[in-house]
Amino acid sequence: MKIIFNSDLLFVHHLVKENLPKHLLDFFKKCKDDDHEIILPLTTVLEFDKKQEEFYEKEKSEVQNATIKLKSNGIEVNDFDIDSIIQKPTLVNILTDLSVKFKVEEPTFEDFKNAHQKACLHEIPHPPKKESDEMRDLVIWETAIRISKVDGPAILMSRDEVHFHHRGDSIAADHSLIRCDSLERAYESLDIETRGSKIVKEKLTEKWNDILSSSLPLKEGAHIISIKKPRFVNKMNGVINSKSTAQIQTGDGKVLKFNLEIEFSPDKFYTMNISKLLLAELKRHDEIKTLEFKPINHIVSDIPDPLTLNFSPVPSDSQEIQNKINHLNYLLGG
């Protein structure tokens, strides 16, 4: 899979001396292990390198000022070659050192032309409330569409509204361009389990027999396909609330997709709420990503939506958490 990076997801807020931040390192390592190719639009390379140059000049200046200050106070400082101590990193060099498969992609004239038209006429993917279109965002968009059109499914890594707004959904889908606004969403798109999805999956597995014997249309052989976008909230009573989207293969040739909300603590499971159930028939050679889901009550009429399973009574507020808050208040007042 080709993974195209906008600069906002590669942004590093300091001079890269030894390594990129761990979350980026881990991602690139995973891409290397699974043979995915990183595509760097020229814009991304230019912006990353420019920012690193700013950090580099600042670092050099600080070292030089420190040297002057020390010498002015009679402290001996050996002569040194600052350029051999502080290196100016470039994105190409960093990825080369990581031995990641990558390519710098220059926009074509066609990319520029299409981006220019979209900018002038505020065409899709222009979000409705955005006042102006940056050409750079649209050039990256056109580059990404071109790559996915020519080379097959690709991922565009970007948080930018122009790339992510739902107005672009149809064009992205038509060209097999998957848009991910974080590394975790990219892991999910690459079918790599994240730590969050693993936790939710383990919790579901704990109660699998209860799920099988519920009114959901599941048979022997049903299994979890994926847990996506798991979000968590801790509560004052020590309970963890998690919301995500789940897909389960039903065991009889169908895929069930639903919103999942669970409440649990490390040693107990409290409730499970399943809602917005959708069902799709899985035919041979079907890709899970291309299935056509329909609301379950169009297919099976007697499934409650939402479906709630209760396992244990929810506890009252936790004294442990209150104690922690009290301790913080004490520190703040100290």
Partner: protein, 141 residues
């Protein structure tokens, strides 16, 4: 507030470490709490190395990301006390028992007395012994 944090000694300061608009506090065992002082409210986001109650977060490989209105603000790694800005464009900040690191700058063994902010971190730079940013001062007043 009087606090020893990352080998710095903060005496009579309002906020020992201000990371953007977030106050960062460490207790005696270097467990980190983070309070957001933004918009119209003050909100506890991290409580002694864990997401605070009521805060939306996503668990990641080495910690968690704080999420607000579906936007990923920053990540926190409890094992090495590293704060990394995501949509918040701030330099990395790490608080250990022996120092506070912000980007490539390391603070060790400093004493800050009587300032509103001990160490101030913004997108543009770092400062010591700063006053409260006006918007935060208005909020606290």
């Amino acid at each position: 507030m009087n606090l020893n944090m990352g080998s710095q000694c903060f005496r009579n300061v309002d906020i020992p470490l201000l990371w953007g608009s977030r106050a960062v506090i460490a207790d005696e065992s270097n467990k980190i709490s983070i309070i957001s002082i933004s918009k119209e409210k003050v909100q506890l986001e991290v409580l002694f190395d864990e997401p605070a109650p009521g805060i939306n977060y996503e668990i990641i490989a080495d910690g968690f990301k704080i999420i607000q209105d579906d936007e990923e603000l920053y990540s926190f790694n409890p094992s090495n006390h590293l704060l990394t800005g995501l949509s918040l464009k701030l330099p990395e900040c790490q608080i250990t028992a022996s120092n506070i690191r912000v980007g490539n700058s390391t603070f060790q063994g400093n004493i800050v007395m009587g300032s509103a902010v001990g160490i101030s971190v913004t997108e543009n730079g770092i400062g010591m012994g700063a006053s409260l940013p006006p918007e935060i001062a208005r909020l606290i007043q």
